[in-house]
Amino acid sequence: MFDLILQATYSGLLSGGSYALIALGLALVFGTMRVINLAHGEFVLLAAYIAYTVESQMGWNPLLALPISVVVVCITAAIVYLLVTRLDKNREMNSLILTFGLGVILTNLVLFIWKADIHSTSVGWFQEAVVLGPLYSMRSELLFFITSVVMVAILWVWLDKSWYGRAVRAVSSNRDAAKLMGINPHVTELISFLIAGILASFSGVALYCASVIQPALGNALTIKAFIITILAGIGSIPGVLIGAVLLGVSEALTITLLSSALQELTGMLLLLFVLLALPNGLFGRAGRRG
């Protein structure tokens, strides 16, 4: 029993790491623009399907799809950004409806191009087991986790040290003050959207290597990313990482101890608990939401 729980915690840790990569893009855009991009899960989905196409059509390793998917997803992200900036009235609400609509368009585009079949990688290397003492995982899962941790670390350093990174943080903490300091908020917002696109491309390709993909997945990914953002509280990168791991571990424990069908329920209950008990999230700044 103990072994099982240990193994579940380990698997949960790994999948939590991969959730973090997805959630971070959502959190970053929300931080700078106060816009929740409901099409974010579809960005990930798009990248995953590009990886599938590269593998099935050209016979290459799906990892080689990364440059193509970065370009395609970033272009998509830029289009979404340009459309969102066109909203003038009541942007908070209307951007939700707009990005929801764009998400529906992307999901159905994927459905239209690639049909509703479920796909996963046929490269055997990814599925081989990695044994760490008593713990097992697939190579792809470990790879996804490491990629995620590395990307999060890079992003953290970038936000902390580089000029544009600091501009992003400045805009998210006080837009008007940032403007007065000579920061162009539009450029900053576009950059945060593009970074979200890059993160989504990495997650999408990794998702295809580690798991199965289908068109309906986009929405579920967005919800997961949102739950993590709530868990983390706004404006905290380590919060996103820990919130993601928390979600991953509790999902894995639910699967092991109860039933795999209740997996999604865990996230919702966690969300409910945080909303009721810790309205600012685990690591968020104090203040009202919205």
Partner: protein, 317 residues
């Protein structure tokens, strides 16, 4: 809605349409489906317009209403009409589970509700003992025959759903002109200022959520008794949120007629044009309509046309 508009509307809905197409089952089934969307759209618009809340979770209320009514009528032999009423009440009770989300504002609320909607779908899947799980509930009793008139026919169901939608429209209007409506309108401008003058804004929002959930549950229940079969994927389908939302954004959510006109319009477009042209993935057009409307006319088509009309009238005068 003013009285001089009401009479012609009633005449068209209750006399002209049944007279012209009452025998045509295809037209009638399209209209029934359109008015089911219109009912949900109205409930959604009520929450958005009066409560200021965009909900991505109305499929939860729709499904709860459908399941509760179907199961009560099958297992406890409840009359269908009582079942439908219970479906609405059940959906309102289910919305109590969403009350913690009222502490959230704007996008947070919208997404928390989207997450809640998934909980209900999972519950319907997993509590197989009660809901039959993924296999779904079959042989749901049809609408009854009253005084020799068969309400389970296409025409009968049409009359039932139209009556319900009109009753809802009336209630929406009454809420809007009541002092609750005034308080809600004030809340829309500044929630803090409204709190200061002694309005319990959370309570008011909760009441709007109950009303909206009740309406959606009733419509879901009617639909269940109309098609006689439900399963979790169908009853809790995100489409029950998407289509009404598109309808409301299309028609305009500030007006009473907007959601109704939008629902009938968008449903007919989707069924007759988009499905025929595209087939699989025809929802892409719904997404596109949603995006285009929000970008170019966020208040919807009905106010837009209304403005044009007024301008033409003024030019003529």
């Amino acid at each position: 809605m003013k009285i001089r508009f009401l009479l012609p509307v009633l005449a068209v809905v209750y006399l002209a349409i049944p007279y012209l197409w009452g025998g045509n089952n295809y037209v009638m089934s399209l209209l029934v489906a359109a008015f089911i969307i219109a009912g949900v759209a109205l409930a959604w618009a009520l929450l958005a317009n009066l409560g200021g809340m965009v909900s991505f979770g109305h499929s939860a209320f729709f499904g709860v209403g459908a399941y509760l009514s179907a199961l009560l009528c099958i297992n406890y032999r409840l009359p269908v009409l009582a079942g439908i009423l219970m479906g609405g009440i059940g959906a309102a009770v289910a919305s109590i589970a969403m009350l913690p989300a009222l502490r959230l504002r704007g996008p947070y609320f919208a997404l928390a509700v989207l997450a809640y909607a998934n909980i209900f779908k999972i519950l319907a899947m997993e509590f197989k003992g009660i809901t039959e799980g993924a296999a779904g509930v079959t042989n749901i009793p049809a609408l009854p025959t009253v005084m020799g008139f068969d309400f389970s026919s296409k025409l009968g169901t049409y009359l039932v759903i139209v009556t319900i939608v009109l009753l809802f429209t009336g209630s929406y209007h009454l809420i809007r002109v009541s002092h609750y409506g005034a308080a809600l309108k004030a809340m829309h401008d500044s929630e803090d200022a409204t709190r200061v003058v002694g309005v319990n804004s959370t309570l008011l929002k909760a009441m709007m959520l109950f009303v909206s959930a009740f309406m959606t549950g009733v419509v879901g229940a009617v639909n269940a008794h109309y098609i006689n079969f439900i399963d979790p994927d169908y009853a809790f389908d995100l489409g029950w949120t998407l289509l009404p939302m598109v309808a409301v954004v299309f028609g305009g959510y500030r007006t009473l007629m907007g959601p109704l006109v939008g629902a009938v319009g968008i449903f007919m477009l989707d069924q007759l044009v988009f499905k025929a042209l595209i087939g699989t993935g025809h929802q892409i057009m719904l997404g596109a309509v949603l995006a285009v409307m929000v970008l170019f006319s966020p208040d919807g088509l009905v106010p837009l046309i209304g403005d044009k009309w007024k301008r033409i009238r003024r030019a003529q005068a």
